[in-house]
Amino acid sequence: MTMARAAASRRSFLGHSYNLVGVLASLVILAWTLVAVFAPYIIPHPIGDIVDDDYFGPMRQGLWLGSDYLGRDMLSRVLMGARYTVGISLAAVSIACFSGVVLGMIAAVTGGWLDTCLSRFLDAMNSIPSKLFGLVVVAAVGSSIPVLILTLAVIYIPGAYRFARALAVNINTMDFMTVARVRGESTAYLIGSEILPNIIRPVLADFGLRFVFIVLLLSGLSFLGLGLQPPLADWGALVRENIGGLPFAAPAVIVPSLAIASLTISVNLLIDNLPQKIRDRDA
């Protein structure tokens, strides 16, 4: 029935436009990825240089996105900011999903007290509001890029664990799992070769969602002044340092906000427009 509905919607006009949205979203994501990788080679001005006599300058030729609160080129700062926002989030989400999914699969396959303890502990971790956790930890050990990556990863491990465990528990009841167990396969083989291939697609969709959460949390922390510290600046920090331009609607405060929104909305739209088969999940 799901198949029939999917096929029907693909034929309809709206179904077609969904896929167009998906393509556009992936183009935006690709563009930001390229920017993140090549930022140092494409920025028109060094990010620390004061190039404008005026602060919060408007958009004009040469300074395409205006200037910030010190008269620095906003375009260069946003392009370099992509590096930190995308890079830190990607590193954090990779650690979170890898640990969460591996632990989740092990818990599902092993069962017993390991499963119970792990689930209880991670559920408790989940009951700490993420922003509060970030606030306390970052304040406790100071803010640096490795601390940020680890904190963000730890915050989102419980979610990834719960998601992967729920999927893996279903797979675990299949006959081929019993067969593999009877063959005497190791836990590593069971999770790597039997379970993972069966849950990889929803796990990847979940990876994308968690990436969005992490980008949002990182931006929020940077906005509070607890994320990346000057002179480094990710998009959240750019909004924070230029918040004084808000009363004049300066591009310096609007553009980094738009950059965050374009990235997160694109990832969300891409996941929403993936074929049903891939994003099928019970969350």
Binding site: P129, V212, L224, P247
Partner: protein, 316 residues
């Protein structure tokens, strides 16, 4: 209600209590890791080593962490939140008024966002696939996808900069009339309402749509019931549990939202107090604020779970 449900609820409450202990533990240890020695921070740069050592002794900072944690816990049970390091006032006195402010903000937001979100969510589910539904869905995805501070900055841009209806900053003490009050609360409440409603709309819509795909609703369709009768009389009563669950879960987003919103609008609530306390490394204050937030969050998600258990007729 039979004992089965009661059992499940009691079990869930027990889990909540254990979780609370773990969370308190985590908060305490995270804050004891704060860099710098509190005694030397308090005494300033001119302090002699003897004075620092004396203060450390007086504040029991030399005791093992576990002892300090237990002492803190016992004090907590007696309603003693400790004394603020930074200005030597009892933490309870510092938090009191601020807590009321934050609860006011959260309360007003709840009163506005719950009816709004439920109406939008249910109507969107009723008119599934229509332009209206697409608009509501896209807007709510949009709000969920952006950080709270961006919703806040956009609200400031729109209402304070372009339209000039509202002030960008709030200060509760200057409220003399009703219009003042509205002007003060408008901005933070609008921002929070956007953030909370978006979550609630999505979850409500999903809950109603799920009920609409059940066989008995199909039966109602086949016997010729109108679309609104099908949703309101057949589907809604059964979707009520999931919807209330969704409301409680969405309200837990208030905790994160309030931290950002109070900071941006300079609103004198406990979130602002806590962000400031982090800057001054005021341990007892941070612990108490963090505890209040965790408690509120835990209460809401536990309530959501218990409602889900109670509303499931199969467990009754």
């Amino acid at each position: 209600m039979k004992s089965g449900v009661l059992n499940l609820v009691v079990k869930r409450l027990a889990v909540a209590v254990v979780t609370l202990l773990i969370v308190l533990f985590a908060v305490f240890f995270a804050t004891s890791m704060l860099p710098g020695d509190t005694a030397s921070i308090l005494l300033g740069q001119a302090a002699t080593p003897e004075a620092v050592a004396g203060l450390r002794e007086a504040m029991h900072l030399n005791d093992p962490a576990i002892l300090r944690f237990l002492r803190w816990l016992v004090g907590l049970l007696h309603g003693d939140l400790g004394t603020s390091y930074a200005n030597d006032m009892p933490v309870a006195a510092l938090i009191g008024g601020r807590f009321v402010n934050t609860m006011k903000l959260a309360g007003i937001t709840t009163l506005i966002s719950v009816p709004l979100a439920l109406t939008l969510g249910i109507t969107a589910a009723m008119l599934r696939g229509s332009v209206y539904d697409r608009t509501v869905t896209i807007l709510s995805i949009g709000v969920i996808s952006v950080p709270e501070f961006m919703v806040a900055t956009l609200a400031v841009l729109l209402f304070a900069v372009y339209l000039r209806w509202l002030p960008a900053l709030s200060s509760v003490n200057e409220a003399h009339s009703l219009t003042d009050l509205v002007r003060i609360y408008a901005m933070p409440v609008i921002t929070l309402t956007f953030v909370i409603s978006a979550q609630m709309i999505r979850m409500t819509r999903a809950a109603v749509i799920e009920t609409l795909s059940t066989p008995y609703v199909e039966m109602a369709l086949l016997k010729g019931a109108s679309r609104s009768r099908m949703v309101l009389r057949h589907a809604l009563p059964n979707a009520l549990g999931p919807i209330v669950n969704a409301v409680a879960l969405s309200l837990s987003y208030l905790v994160g939202g309030v931290i950002i919103v109070e900071t941006i609008f300079n609103y004198p609530g406990i979130a602002k107090l806590m962000v400031d306390a982090v800057a001054t490394r005021d341990l007892p204050l941070i612990q108490s604020c963090a505890m209040i937030f965790c408690l509120g969050y835990l209460l809401l998600i536990t309530a959501a779970d218990i409602i889900a258990i109670m509303s499931n007729p199969r467990l009754r």
